[in-house]
Symmetry: C2
Subunit: 149 residues, 2 copies
Amino acid sequence: MLNENSIHLMNRVIKLSKDNLNNNKVPIAAIVVDSSTNEIISEATNGDSVLDHAEILVLKKALDKLSTNRLYECDIYVTIEPCPMCATAIAKTHIRRLYFGAEDKKGGGVINGPKIFSHSNLKVPEVISHCFAEETSNLLKKFFESKRN
Amino acid sequence: MLNENSIHLMNRVIKLSKDNLNNNKVPIAAIVVDSSTNEIISEATNGDSVLDHAEILVLKKALDKLSTNRLYECDIYVTIEPCPMCATAIAKTHIRRLYFGAEDKKGGGVINGPKIFSHSNLKVPEVISHCFAEETSNLLKKFFESKRN
């Protein structure tokens, strides 16, 4: 169950994803938020490099902004299930909670594939999956359809 | 079995790792090399951020330098077994071959933990493990002992 603030933040993630889609980029975005104040610490969307996933970029921005290597009190919101690279990065920063939209059966690394948080000896976050699953899944479908056409 | 050039490159990785150790940093380094010309494309060592692993930094440098998202013809040399984040990043760039030193039973993601290349539907590299395993393992041991003291 998402509370009002989480719904607001997932909607913001979807808005940023749509902006990326309108620019012909992968509609994936991520937000890091301070869970105690609800202040947005950083926002990012997927970049052009295969390594510039929204999650990596938003975590780096948050670490820089807070001058820390730990995001204990922070939550991260992402459009779809993070890949194994991003799931590991999330664990390394000790994020408190991960919210994501649709699952990614092909590329996901949280509840699919290597299920990073079940193997890792890192501090893993609480996971809230399938937030606005249909809407976020449709965004990705739209993007890949447009790429095929 | 390592050929003369691979021995040279692993020795270079060990040299860079020792330099980091002498600066009181994690003794982990990585090199990306063009496998057809043996030219070193990029070098990196672990940075201060928990996300600035040598592998991520060296891959980003190589992608930037070659203005590409694919490193089909390149090999990567690393001090120890990459973590799941870095193993996934290596696969995403379509690196040809991964050489690494000691295995990392606790944090590794290639032959330990989530064994990223066995799950991923990405193009996974050929893996040459345990290159100079004792020497690289000792480097890491030295670092963690110095941290405890």
